[in-house]
Symmetry: D3
């Protein structure tokens, strides 16, 4: 029997419990999963605070207890939508089915004749990268919405201080 | 007598009836016209839904019945205004006069000592790329504002579905 | 009946009589032809002396007497073979068959499931870009190996002097 | 005794009296100062109207009467925060202490173990690049907020007309 | 006790038995190993025939029977040696010691104050990427010099035909 | 009376006594001189061992005793000859006359209608970057062919060891 390999792409800023659940769900459908870390070249911004390496550590730690062969691949932005699917294909092991809820990603893979499955995530009122980053900046509670290994990684890199510093743009303009 | 060659640049997302009329007007002033397709490397965004190749097809089809020698040249963005005119010059046949209503384009060619003629377009309440793209997304009527060959091209590439899909950013954030 | 559109890519440094003959041959097989000007961003080197705009002028002038609908499209290098076919597709009207004798081009289009036809050129002892450029630099005869419109274009841009100057690298090292 | 060299980075659009005062203050703390012109590749936008060369002229003229050895270095954007400090280090003479009030710059140099001193600027209600550019566009008075040599440079390059032209985006959309 | 993490970078075109042995040797010295796939954006050339994704598959398959936690990370070229170490750091989990026999890599990590250990490979008369690629092109035996999983991967992607085709540059010049 | 400003561009790997003499000669012809450091983004290669910052230090130290207002400007490569002059113009103060013995530089500035004066350097059998770099690698004498401040800078950055290390490519191929 053939191996079925899935592809899931996200920025994972940070990898939160919704992502964790999604991978667990996908594990029931595929034999192997390629996880693409999008915008891998971005970091130290409010929208993309963590480097690809930091995100790779988060994901690897979290997935140690998921029973699924995974490949975690940083994907630098190529800023040209028309070649993005080819870019992904050249960086990753070949895959059969794409998981995404991003309209652009869905459209690009559809135009390239891939099967795309909707990757609806749970609890979107709480589990959303934007909300979690805002709550980190604002000093609200957030650690209950990401896996423990993610809290640990963010602490090791002093990530809360980083996010708060770069979010403070009041004095920025020269 | 010398040939006079004009240069007209736009993103043409899509090429609409205002562009068609403008080219017809310019045809009375020059012998040949270079049409630069700006942001040629952009596609699959709400602002730039169509690839350069798709736009090239639209323009070529529409201009078959215009009595003017034209050169249609995709121009990738170079993201550095100070060298943009040189970039255009290197990609196009040489031209004598520039047609534009874009303030930046006008300024850059003025600083490079080109003659720039105002390319006022007709019927700007209806014939404007932004409005037409919005109406495509919203399901409003739009086909009466672009030449028939453009409607045809957009249908062939399933362009309406593309625009609607990528405009749906609700589920986007991870 | 469907239109068949071919794709021919080359650097055309310069467009010579072998290219001219090849297009004439292809004209018997397709209804329309997309001619991609490769390395469009290169110029002013011994290997790539002419800009894309200058090459576009050469080709357009030569093809006025070929009875074939052509699209001449400058293609900037993207320096990443794995996405090059997607890059070409995004810049050009869609095409059905590729003409090339370049092993890399053949391989890349084969891997993308295109039909590739061998585009054997005539008289390869004389009609070869490298030889013609060398003869221009060395002051040998060359004008009988390119169409008259190409001689004319090279004269208009003072191309012989350009090639000789940049070929003189003796004093180059600082 | 060791030479202490400081590093100050800004976009200097334009170099105003607050920058002039800041350099004078720093002159009391260091022996030499590297002044990095950020976003050196940007120009002809409302946010970055002046080229790096134009800004270099402004700064050089203003600093002729400051008793401090300075190095003025254009720094092109590298669009990847994680390597930006290395980029700066490769383009500049080595430095011991960084002056900045930009949160991102402060954070990046902190993570690279540099000493960063706060470079609070005076009179921020009046002396701020954004405000000065807006007042130039709006025809308000502005020449009393930049050193005379900056007024002179902006006049020489017809900078007021440039800013007003590119700020006029009404007719922009095609 | 602290985890020690090593970093090994190569182009792995292809991953051969010398690489396999090297990883086994390193496994005795570190707890975890980051394997960087250099020139990840290159493919389809004689020097770099395989995509990063294809190399990632080779390496992952081979390392399934090595008792070592590994992270395999594609690293696109950044073409600027002075920022390359920062680039690597941003893409990878943090590491303590670098394994390399590449003089440039050794020098760059030395200048960044990393410990670099010599990664002498065995049997360099036979186990060398260049030699193996040449023998593939020339039809010589090569399958005994790479792990079985690499032979299998190259067969799956029709890699021998690819290498031979792109090595045939006789007809290349236009 | 108008100020005359010259422009001299080189890679200065390293800045040697021939460059020093050339600047002294030019000092008799112009009021100010812009010195462009070419390939500013290159370093740590045999051809370009020193960073732009290191070269800037060399040049600044050497020129302290030349009675000429100079501007030293790192110029990153733009890899597109047709826009290179515009790139230089955007990064530098405006200049009236170009000094170069590089055929490509001469041609590009000629096509842009600049006056170019030949910058013949003295003693080319000894004073040539390539020769000096080779002699550094080979352990031959070289310090008598560069100004003392350059010897000093190269020592401070451990430049001899860097050059020798990166020149040792024997073990390089993986």
């Amino acid at each position: 029997m053939e191996t079925t390999r899935g592809f899931l792409v996200g920025r994972f800023q940070p990898f939160h419990s919704g992502h964790r659940q999604l991978v667990a769900d996908i594990a029931g459908e595929v034999d192997e999963l390629v996880i693409g870390i999008g915008s891998a070249d971005a970091s130290h911004t409010v929208h993309n605070p963590f480097t690809a390496g930091e995100r790779l550590v988060m994901i690897s730690k979290v997935l140690t207890d998921v029973d699924l062969q995974t490949y975690v691949v940083p994907l630098e932005d190529i800023d040209r939508n028309a070649v993005w699917v080819s870019h992904v294909e050249s960086m990753c092991p070949p895959f059969d089915v794409v998981y995404s809820n991003n309209p652009l990603v869905i459209r690009l893979f559809n135009e390239a004749d891939y099967e795309v499955r909707d990757s609806a995530m749970i609890d979107r009122d709480r589990l959303r990268g934007t909300l979690i980053r805002e709550d980190i900046v604002d000093g609200e509670s957030w650690t209950d919405r990401v896996p423990p290994a993610v809290v640990e990684t963010i602490e090791e890199i002093d990530g809360v201080a980083r996010l708060r510093r770069i979010a403070d743009s009041d004095a920025h303009e020269d």
